[in-house]
């Protein structure tokens, strides 16, 4: 299968060279794969996800995503808008917007009419099982439902890659299970998923699990 993500000797340091978050990471992800990256807090999982998604530039090394060398891309915003769907532990939905309006947020960067945005948001909320909560604002929804909105939001630009950071960290086990089922379904539909977690039960749903420690990937 095509390698959709390829990272070579990734190094990322902060505060000069005093904090080494990534210390020579090599990673290859094939198109349609569902991988999990496990490791303790502070091992560099989230930083790796940020570098892979173009939120952060590596200090050194190479990172290719869907054939694009991220170190050479000038407009990373538009790259993220077209290629990547991000899901975070803290979803940061806008509390005054309804579920449907929150899902539309990434679509402002696409040339869609207001009506098209509405239709697409409805479709995505149906996909995550929230068709009956479209007009609810986040404070009126449970943690699991909010995370589903965040997933629908991440899917709104039809990204081929989903980068997921501790998606069930704030959820009870039943909600967490529902969320992971959605990721499995999305993976079956052909999306590549890179999931970062420290929860072994969640990681086991992935086809490959990587372990990270001190900024390095130790084993597969």
């Amino acid at each position: 299968m095509n390698k959709i993500i390829s990272a070579k000797n990734l190094v990322k340091t902060f505060e000069g060279d005093r904090v080494i978050a990534l210390n020579g990471v090599n990673l290859e992800v094939s198109e349609g794969e569902f991988i999990a990256i496990m490791g303790p807090s502070g091992c560099g999982k989230s930083t790796l996800l940020h570098v892979l998604g173009g939120l952060e530039s590596p200090t050194s090394g190479e990172v290719m995503v869907d054939g694009v060398d991220l170190c050479k891309v000038k407009k990373l915003d538009s790259f993220r808008a077209r290629k990547i769907g991000f899901i975070f532990q803290l979803h940061n939905l806008i509390p005054v917007l309804t579920a449907q309006e929150n899902v539309q947020m990434p679509m402002f960067e696409l040339k869609l009419s207001s009506k098209e945005r509405n239709e697409k948001a409805k479709k995505l909320l149906r996909l995550v099982g929230l068709e009956d909560r479209m007009d609810f604002v986040p404070p009126k929804l449970s943690g699991g439902q909010r995370q589903k909105i965040a997933i629908a939001r991440a899917l709104s630009n039809d990204p081929r890659i989903l980068l997921v950071d501790e998606p069930t960290g704030n959820l009870d086990s039943a909600s967490g299970h529902e969320i992971i089922q959605i990721f499995e379904r999305l993976n079956k539909d052909g999306r590549t998923i890179v999931l970062v977690t420290h929860d072994k039960d969640i990681a086991e749903h992935a086809s490959i699990i990587y372990h990270m420690k001190d900024g390095q990937i130790l084993e597969k």
Partner: protein, 369 residues
């Protein structure tokens, strides 16, 4: 959902904070509206005094700071009439006296032969023919509920109302007219007038005649238009300067208030900004959103401030001491000025927070706690 809806909903997140910010700016806007309306009213009133009827220009004492201080020899009326190009002249003495509850009623001392030139039309009754007779303006007649045949006490003297007049100037129509001689006697100003109105021959050049008047009579100054009001009245210039200063202060104080409000909002939403950047929003879109919130807050302030300004001015006008003397005039210019000030406050106040928000590194914003 439209992008504008998002901006609107964002400012409703902290309703109390937004409301207080809007209120703060609204007070500045209200002041601009009120001062503007009062100043416009004063300008029109002054214009009514300076450009009466068929007069092409008026003449007052030079070097004065307020028209009511003008003291011109009555003889100048005939001397100016003898100049080339002058068709007619009319003199008026102006005073302010209390009538009933109204402490400042403009009182004109004019000869009735000058009524046609000053476009004073008697719509009811007739002109005064004796000392203790006077005319009242149509507006004054309604406000005081007085008509022909009624009595009016002016400076402890009782006058018979013989007629009601209209001049087309609300300032005049709120006042009374009595004979020049009688008003000179009341004011102890025999032989003096406040202002002389000059009507020119058709072919006369107004600039040349004005120049000649000022050359022949150095103690006099000519006023051709409202733009020259400053020659005889510094009050309006001062008020205009005050309005500008208040507008400037409103921009600074309002701008600081808006900056503070929007900056707090940006800090509170730092992680959210990080998520928006992560999902593909450009720096420009973040900038527009934050600037939009700032400008929208200020546009709400224009609406509320205009309403407050209008209500405040009307409340002030209920006071006889102010309402009797002034008629506020709400012009489009005043509201445009308020709008421009509010827009500037929104733009300047929102610029820094918007810049900060747009410059946030998405990764750092996501780590922000």
């Amino acid at each position: 959902m439209r992008f504008s809806t998002l901006i609107f909903k964002n400012i409703l997140r902290r309703k109390t904070r937004s409301a207080f910010t809007v209120l703060g700016i609204s007070i500045g806007i209200a002041t601009i509206i009120a001062l503007g309306a009062v100043m416009n009213g004063m300008t029109v009133s002054m214009e009514g005094m300076l450009k009466s009827g068929k007069a092409d220009f008026s003449v007052a004492q030079s070097g004065i700071s307020d028209l009511s201080f003008s003291r011109v020899s009555e003889n100048r009326t005939n001397e100016i009439l003898e100049l080339d190009g002058v068709k007619n002249t009319a003199a008026a003495l102006i005073g302010f006296y209390s009538v009933g509850d109204n402490p400042y009623v403009i009182t004109w001392g004019v000869e009735k032969e000058d009524f046609p030139m000053l476009s004073i039309n008697i719509i009811n009754g007739s002109a005064f023919s004796q000392e203790h007779e006077l005319l009242i303006g149509a507006v004054a007649s309604k406000e005081w509920n007085k008509t022909v045949g009624d009595k009016l006490v002016l400076k402890e003297l009782e006058f018979n109302i013989t007629g009601i007049f209209e001049s087309g100037s609300i300032y005049q129509d709120k006042g009374v007219i009595l004979s020049l001689k009688k008003l000179q006697e009341i004011q102890n100003q025999e032989g003096y007038v406040t202002i002389i109105y000059v009507e020119l021959e058709e072919e006369a050049n107004i600039e040349e005649v004005c120049q000649r008047v000022e050359e022949e009579f150095p103690d006099l100054v000519t006023i051709k238009s409202v733009a020259e009001l400053g020659k005889v009245d510094k009050g309006l210039e001062l008020m205009d300067a005050a309005t500008l200063a208040i507008s400037f202060l409103a921009v600074i104080i309002g701008g600081i208030g808006v900056t503070n409000t929007i900056m707090m909002s940006v800090y509170e939403r730092t992680r959210e900004m990080g998520v928006l950047r992560a999902i593909g929003w450009t720096k420009k879109r973040i900038l527009i959103m934050i600037l939009g919130e700032s400008i929208l807050l200020c546009l709400f302030s224009v609406l509320i401030g205009s309403l407050l300004g209008f209500l405040g001015t009307e409340l002030l006008m209920l006071q006889p001491i102010i309402g009797g003397l002034l008629e506020p005039l709400y012009t489009v210019d005043t509201f445009v000025r308020a709008f421009v000030v509010a827009f500037a406050v929104g733009l300047i106040g929102g610029m820094y927070p918007a810049y900060r928000a747009s410059k946030l590194s998405p990764s750092e914003a996501l780590r922000y706690e």
